[in-house]
Structure formats: C-alpha cells, structure tokens
C-alpha cells in the first residue's frame, strides 16, 4: 500500500468571526490548503468533512465548484475532524484516490453546550435534575484521577498557563494574552476543581488538509509530510464517558488508550520517538490525563513533568504548541484538524516563535463524546 502524505494545510483563525458563517470559514480554509498544496479544486478525487453545528460540509461545492467530486459528510462529535482525516487517509491507502481533502469547521453559540437527553438515549429526569453537563463529567473524571495519582490543583493551573503562553505565539489562536497562574487558580470556580480559565469555550473556525499518495506528492514536487498512522476507536467496556448515569465498578481503559496503541503500532514509532504532541485539552485535567492515556508518561508523573516544564516549548515533549483548545476554543468540527494543522506547520518548520526546533515527528489526539478517540502520527 502507498504511503499517505499531507501536502497542504489551511486554517481560518479560531475564535469569533461575526458576519462569516462556519461553512464560509471552512471554504476559506480549503482554499488556503489547496493553494498551499499547489493544486486546484478539480484535482481533488474525494472529500470528507463535517461540522457539529454549522451545517453539511458538502454544501461547500457551491463555492468551490461543481466538479462532481464525491463529498462525504462526517458527524462524529468532537472527533469529526479526526474522522474526516481518517476517511481521506483510508481512501488513498486503498488506492481509490490520489488527492483527498479533509475539512472541518464550526460556529457555536456562546456558553456551555446544552444537549437534550433524548438525543443521547437518556431519560428526561437526568437532564431535569441537573446531572447532564459536560463540565461535570470532566470534573468528575479528573477528581477521581487526581485522588488516585496525586495530581495537585497547581498542576492544572500550569497546564492553562502554558496554553495561554503558547496561544499568544500562534496567529490562528483565539486567546492571545498570557494569563498568570494566580489569576487562573483564583478565577471563578466552575466545576470543582476546575476554574473558568481551565476550561475551553465553544468557538468558531475552519481547517482544511490536502492529502496525497506518495506518488502524487512526488509528481507535484512537494516536500511531503508523511501521515504514518490515522486511527479511530470507540469506547471499550468500562471506560468513563460523558453522560453516564452509572459506571461499572470494574473499570476499563479509555478509547484513547486503544486508539493510541493502534496508531503507534501502525506507525512503527513509540511515545519516546515523538518530538511534539497535540493532546485533547477540553480542560486542563484532560491534557494531564491524556498525557498518560497516550503513553507519554505514567499515571502520576504529570506532577513532575509540569513542574519541570517538560511539556513547554523547549521541553522534552512540547504539548499543545498553539495553545490547544484552551487558547483556540473548540469549534467541534474543526478542532481535531487544527491539531494536525499545527503539527504540519511544526514539521514544515514554519511555526515561528513557537517552533519546536528540529521536529521530525508529531502526534495528535482528539477525544469526543460519547467516547471515541482519533490519533494521527506525522513524520517528515
């Protein structure tokens, strides 16, 4: 089977863009990705894309051109972007396409998400009594983890502080002001132990990626970034997921653990080989837990890692170099592809002030409700 390469990456800046729909932000990102790859829209053999709250991706053929391209809409919650990437990856691997597009975009109203119980197969009382909030789930999973493995609130603060420092260096980020750790720790408590600055917010943005077979990339004369592995896994028994009225006493691994192992196996690389990583950081604790779930450290070691700055720029494994969801916000459909975009930029060596010197390998992990994770491993 052919190797798969990423040859173009585009982004519409994250945050809030009044007067521009989510779909338009997606189109903006696709045009930038096509230009970056040096190809035209009619060259694309297949497209995958999606949003959570901003409409069907395939509508963008109205703007991009009616080429008849097969365009598959993806809806996989927070992992929508990861799933679109997987579709494009698999099409090229299978020899069905030489050039494929993955696109994700979104535009959410302000404030926390307000899901309806019936959409999740849950009884009405669960929502009526105030148990159905994503922020609660994050806090409950994190509290248990902190208790089990000795993670302190200060470590949560350090994650957020790093995110805002990095975000200030990324042109596509939303939050561009560093925030000191005292302000983070003393900001309004939202769901104990998580304060306001430790949570990301729903936002807007769009990302497009152009993928190519290795042969096509050579024909085009571009320097390819190899997509060594793209995996997605849904939850195994005993995982701790959002909106669970009950949990099994016998606990199991998370979908992230399963997807990560599969991705490392497929890539022939291990956690120690990775130079830069983007890990789902819906809130500070998620980044902490995902460091271990993805195999980069043992449970509990994050306390030392963060105090020593190992995940900061210049550390042994910089994590969320563009500020992650905390600094970029979370437009659900685009978020997972933003991580891959950032990794492409890092491997191309054009990340400017946030460049990880000499980065050759990059890892991204997106996690979404109701329990699925997508991993992409890049190598140049």
């Amino acid at each position: 089977m052919t190797e798969v390469c990423i040859i173009g990456a585009g982004i519409h800046p994250f945050g809030r863009t009044d007067g521009m729909s989510g779909l338009q932000q997606g189109v903006f990102a696709v045009r930038q990705a096509l230009a970056d790859a040096g190809v035209e829209w009619p060259d694309i053999d297949i497209a995958y894309g999606g949003s959570s709250a901003a409409g069907n991706a395939d509508i963008m053929v109205n703007d991009l051109g009616l080429t008849g391209v097969p365009f598959i809409n993806v809806a996989n919650g927070c992992a929508t972007g990861g799933s679109a990437l997987y579709g494009a990856f698999a099409s090229i691997k299978a020899g069905q396409a030489d050039l494929a597009l993955a696109v994700g975009f979104d535009k959410h109203p302000r404030g926390a998400f307000d899901p309806r119980p019936a959409d999740w197969g849950l009884p009405d009382w669960y929502g009526e009594t105030g148990l159905m909030l994503t922020t609660q789930f994050f806090a409950l999973k994190l509290r248990r983890y902190m208790e089990q493995f000795g993670i302190s609130p200060t470590t949560l603060g350090r994650v957020a502080e790093k995110a805002f420092d990095n975000g200030a260096l990324a042109s596509h980020s939303w939050r561009k002001q560093p925030v000191d750790i005292d302000t983070i720790m003393n900001s309004q408590m939202v769901n104990d132990p998580l304060t306001k600055f430790m949570f990301c917010a729903p936002a807007e943005g769009g990302v497009g990626l152009v993928l190519a077979s290795e042969k096509k990339a050579r024909e085009l004369g571009v320097t390819p970034i190899y997509l060594k592995a793209a995996t997605i896994r849904t939850r195994p028994p005993g995982s701790f997921e959002v909106f669970s009225p009950s949990l099994d006493i016998e606990r199991g691994p998370s979908p992230t653990v399963v997807a990560s192992k599969a991705a490392f196996e497929a890539s022939g690389l291990g956690p120690g080989d990775i130079d830069v990583a983007q890990l789902q950081d819906t809130e500070s604790g998620a980044e902490i837990m995902h460091m271990a779930e993805n195999g980069f450290c043992a449970d509990g070691e994050q306390e030392q890692w963060l105090s020593e700055g190992r995940t900061r720029l210049g550390g042994v494994l910089p994590v969320n170099t563009d500020g992650g969801c905390l600094a970029c916000g979370e437009p659900i459909g685009a978020s997972g592809l933003r991580q891959v975009y950032e990794n492409v930029v890092q491997l191309q060596g054009r990340a400017g002030a946030r460049q990880v010197e000499g980065a050759r390998t990059a890892y991204s992990h997106v996690y979404g409700a109701p329990g699925l994770s997508a991993i992409a491993i890049l190598q140049r």
Binding site: P123, E128, T129, Q136, S246
Partner: protein, 135 residues
Amino acid sequence: MAETLVDIADHLLTRGPDPALIGGRDRTTGRIVFPCPADAERFEAVELPREGRIWSWTVQRFRPKSPPYTGPESFEPYAIAYVELPGATIVESRLSGFSFDDLKVGLPCKLVAEVFAGKRSYAFAPNDSIGGDGA
C-alpha cells in the same frame, strides 16, 4: 414529605419509608446498570444497595440551561457525585446535606428520597452510622 409526591420518573426508586434505587441486572452477564433499561427480556429489575461511598465528586457552580434543567430560577450551587454501591454499580447522584468543604472521595453516604421541582427524586446524604473515609 417526599412520599406523597409524584415521582420524577417511573421505576427510578422504590416506594416506602426506606427507598432504594432500581437498577437493571443483565440476565446473561450479571452486569448491573442504572437506571433499569426498558428491555425486560435482557434486564431484570433489582434494588440497589442503599449505602455506599463517594467515588468522585464536584460542585455545580453555574445554573444549567433550561431545558432540560427544571430546578428553581434562583440558583444555588449543588454538589454531585458518583457513589459506589458495593457489589452493584457506581451511580451518579446529587448530594444532600454535605458541606462542600468536607467533600472527599471515600466518604460514606446513603440514599434518601428528595423533593426536586415538586417531584420525588433521589440524592445521597451523609451516612453517620459508618466512620472512616474508606479512601
């Protein structure tokens, strides 16, 4: 007082002075879940243990959006937890009667019927008959 009210949902907890949550036991695997799923061929209704320990907790500090939330407009923060019911399952619940500052993993608690939005619902309250934090 809760005994005379309509339940917030059918088949959620038993009636009487000492109610229990109603879970579902998978007839094949023995796995217990809460609430009891409607599929009676697969799940047999069982009363869950009334006493357990806090497995994890948080405090809800902002008012959830309505719908679906039907609590009062004037919002007071409330504590919620996963409570491990030994030998059965871990259930999510509002907490009642705990001071937020005292909350920690391992605290013993017991099921109580609680009025919520004019209906009979459930919560877990401190269980003073058991000492130690069991953590």
